[in-house]
C-alpha cells in the first residue's frame, strides 16, 4: 500500500521544485550579471529550462489522473510516459547543443578575462537547493512509482553537476587554467546525455507496450491454479503510467455453460488486484479447450490485410 503521507508528498513535490527552479533562475541570473561569469549565466538558463520542464510535468500529472472517457477509453495514464519521453529528449538535445557550443568556444574563442569569485556563492546556493530537490523528488517518485517524478528529479541532479562545474570553472579560470571552464562543461554535458538516454528508453518502452515478463509469468501461474481453468495463454501485461492492464486467454471445458465460466472469471478478477497492487483492469477472453487453432486470428492474416 502507498501511504497517505507519500501521496500528499507526491502532490506537493513538483510545486516545491517549481519554486526552487524559478528562484534559482533569478539568483543565478543576477549574480551572473554582477560577476560577469558566462558559465553561471548558462547555468541560470538551465534553471529556467527546468522551470518549464516542471510545468510540463505538473500538467501531465494532472492529465494522467483523469478518468477514462470516450476519446481515451483506456485512461490518460500514458501521458506520464509521453511527458517523460519529451522532457528527456529535449534535455538530451539541449545537452548535445551545449557540448557543441562549448567545444567551438574553446577552440575558436580561446581565453577571456576570468569571472569574479562572487559567482561561487550563487553556484553553492544552487548546489544545496538542487540536492534537496533531487532527494525529495526521488523519495516521492520511488514511493509512488511515478516515472515522471523520477525523471524530473534526475533533472535536478544534473543541475547540481552543472553548478559544481561552474565553481570549478570560476576558480580554475582565476588560477590561470582558462580552458578548464569548457572542458568541465563538456564532461557535464556527456553526463546529462547518459541520464536522459536512460530515461527516454524507459519512456519509449512504456509507450511501445513492452511486455513485463516477470509479472506475466506470475499471473500465468496464479490463474492456472484457479479451479475450473484448464489452460492460460497469451497473458499480456501493459503499463499505462502507474496502472497495469492485463489481457489473457483462459481455456475452459467446451461444454461448460457461460454462467459457470463467468464465476471463474470473477474469481480471477478478484484475486489479481489483491496479489499485484497496481493491476487496474483485467480482461479475460474465454475459449474452449478442444479446437486449439480456431480461437485467434493468425498473425499472417493480420499482415495480409
Amino acid at each position: 500500500m502507498i501511504r497517505q503521507r507519500c501521496i500528499n508528498c507526491g502532490k506537493r513535490v513538483e510545486w516545491v521544485i517549481l519554486g526552487i527552479n524559478l528562484s534559482l533562475f533569478f539568483v543565478k541570473g543576477s549574480f551572473a550579471l554582477i560577476s560577469h561569469s558566462k558559465s553561471l549565466l548558462t547555468d541560470s538558463f538551465q534553471s529556467m529550462a527546468n522551470f518549464i520542464i516542471t510545468l510540463v510535468v505538473i500538467a501531465s500529472m494532472r492529465l494522467a489522473a483523469r478518468d477514462a472517457d470516450k476519446r481515451f477509453p483506456y485512461g490518460y495514464g500514458k501521458v506520464e510516459f509521453l511527458a517523460s519521453g519529451v522532457v528527456n529528449m529535449s534535455l538530451m538535445l539541449a545537452a548535445i547543443v551545449f557540448i557543441l557550443f562549448s567545444f567551438f568556444e574553446m577552440v575558436m574563442v580561446g581565453p577571456e578575462k576570468p569571472p569574479k569569485l562572487i559567482a561561487i556563492v550563487a553556484a553553492a546556493i544552487s548546489i544545496i537547493a538542487n540536492m534537496l530537490a533531487y532527494r525529495y523528488g526521488r523519495c516521492a517518485g520511488e514511493k509512488l512509482g511515478s516515472t515522471v517524478i523520477l525523471a524530473n528529479a534526475e533533472v535536478s541532479r544534473a543541475d547540481v553537476g552543472t553548478s559544481i562545474a561552474v565553481i570549478v570553472a570560476v576558480i580554475g579560470c582565476n588560477m590561470g587554467f582558462s580552458s578548464l571552464d569548457h572542458i568541465v562543461a563538456i564532461a557535464i554535458g556527456a553526463m546529462i546525455i547518459k541520464v536522459t538516454w536512460d530515461g527516454a528508453k524507459k519512456a519509449i518502452n512504456g509507450l511501445m507496450d513492452v511486455s513485463l515478463r516477470s509479472e506475466e509469468v506470475h499471473i500465468l501461474n496464479m490463474v492456472e491454479d484457479i479451479e475450473g481453468v484448464r489452460r492460460v495463454e497469451d497473458v499480456k501485461v501493459r503499463l499505462a503510467g502507474r496502472r497495469l492492464f492485463v489481457d489473457m486467454n483462459v481455456f475452459v471445458g467446451g461444454d461448460v455453460i457461460l454462467s459457470a465460466a463467468l464465476e471463474t472469471v470473477a474469481k480471477i478478477k478478484n484475486i489479481l488486484p489483491r496479489k499485484i497492487k497496481s493491476v487496474s483492469e483485467v480482461s479475460v477472453q474465454l475459449l474452449p479447450v478442444t479446437p486449439v487453432e480456431a480461437h485467434r486470428r493468425s498473425p499472417d492474416k493480420a499482415e495480409n490485410k
Binding site: F72, K78, S90, M208, K236, I257, L286, P288, E303, K305
Partner: protein, 296 residues
C-alpha cells in the same frame, strides 16, 4: 480496339509507377534541399533561408515517419512487444517534432535579437541562388505530383503536391527578402524568417499533438465505433453491449469488446459467436489488428 485498350492500360501503370517514383523523388529532393539551404543559410547568415531549410526538414521527417510506419507497423508482434511495433510511427513523429520545435524556437530568438540589435548580415548571392533552386525544384515536383494525382485520383498525392507548392512559395518569399536586402531593406530577412518559423512551430505542434494522442491510446473515429456497435448488436445472440474500447497502434485498430451473451450457452457456442463477430468486424474495418471479446 484491343490495341487501344492495352495502350490505356499501359498508360495507367506508367502513371502508378510515376506516382511511387515521385514520392521517393520528393523525399530525396526535400532532404537535399534541407541540407543545401541549411548549409548556405548558416554560412551566409540568412535566417530566412535557414528557416526555409527547417521547413524542408519537416517535410523529410514526415515522409520518413510514413515510410517507417509502413515498414515497422506491419512487422508482427513478438515476445518483447506483444502488441506489435505500430507505435514506432508515433514515437518517430513525436521525437522529430520536438527536434524541429527546439531548432525553430532557437531561430526565432535569434531573429528577434537581430531585429532589435540591428546586426544584419549583408545578403549574399549564394543565398539567393539556393532559394531559387528550391523554388524550381519544388515547383517541378508539384507538377509531377499533380499530374499523377489527376490520373490516379489519389488524395495523398494531392496533399503531397500542395506541400511542395507551399515549400516553393515560401522559398520564393525568401528570395524576395534576399533581393530586398540587397536593395537596402536588411531587416526583411529576419522578419520573413520569424513568419516562416511561426508557421513551422504551428505545424510541429500539430504533429506532436497527433503523435501524442496516438501514444496515449486515443479511440478510433466515432463513426467507426458506431459501425462496430451496429455490427455487434445485429448479431442474434448478443443481448447487450457493455462497452467498446478501441485504440490505434500505428495503423492497426485494436478492439476490446465487452458484451453479454445468454448465460445458458456453452463455451464452444460462445466461441462460435465470437468468431462470427470477429469476421463481421473484419469485413468492415480496415487495418484490424485484434478483437478481444470479453463476456460479462
Amino acid at each position: 480496339m484491343y490495341i487501344e485498350l492495352s495502350k490505356v492500360m499501359s498508360e495507367k501503370t506508367k502513371c502508378a509507377r510515376c506516382a511511387t517514383r515521385t514520392s521517393w523523388i520528393g523525399l530525396w529532393d526535400s532532404l537535399f534541399l534541407a541540407i543545401f539551404k541549411g548549409v548556405i543559410g548558416i554560412l551566409t547568415r540568412s535566417r530566412a533561408l535557414t528557416a526555409s531549410a527547417l521547413y524542408s526538414l519537416h517535410d523529410v521527417i514526415s515522409g520518413i515517419a510514413v515510410l517507417v510506419g509502413l515498414k515497422i507497423s506491419t512487422s508482427p508482434a513478438d515476445k518483447k512487444h506483444p502488441y506489435g511495433h505500430g507505435n514506432v510511427e508515433y514515437i518517430v513523429s513525436v521525437f522529430t517534432s520536438v527536434l524541429i520545435l527546439g531548432a525553430t524556437i532557437y531561430l526565432v530568438a535569434d531573429c528577434i535579437r537581430i531585429v532589435f540589435m540591428g546586426e544584419h548580415a549583408p545578403p549574399h548571392w549564394a543565398a539567393l541562388g539556393a532559394a531559387v533552386v528550391s523554388v524550381i525544384a519544388n515547383e517541378v515536383i508539384y507538377h509531377f505530383n499533380i499530374c499523377a494525382h489527376k490520373q490516379l485520383n489519389s488524395p495523398a498525392l494531392h496533399a503531397h503536391g500542395k506541400h511542395h507548392r507551399a515549400d516553393a512559395i515560401s522559398s520564393l518569399v525568401v528570395a524576395i527578402a534576399i533581393i530586398a536586402g540587397m536593395m537596402g531593406y536588411r531587416s526583411l530577412d529576419a522578419i520573413v524568417a520569424i513568419f516562416e518559423a511561426g508557421h513551422l512551430i504551428f505545424l510541429s505542434i500539430e504533429l506532436l499533438y497527433q503523435g501524442g494522442c496516438g501514444l496515449v491510446d486515443r479511440a478510433i473515429k466515432e463513426s467507426d465505433i458506431s459501425l462496430i456497435r451496429q455490427i455487434v448488436s445485429d448479431m442474434p445472440d448478443v443481448r447487450s453491449i457493455k462497452n467498446i474500447k478501441t485504440r490505434q497502434i500505428g495503423r492497426t485498430v485494436w478492439v476490446d469488446l465487452h458484451i453479454s451473451l445468454p448465460l445458458n450457452k456453452t463455451i464452444t457456442q460462445v466461441n462460435e459467436i465470437s468468431e462470427k463477430i470477429r469476421q463481421n468486424i473484419d469485413k468492415k474495418i480496415k487495418y484490424l489488428g485484434n478483437v478481444n471479446i470479453v463476456c460479462e
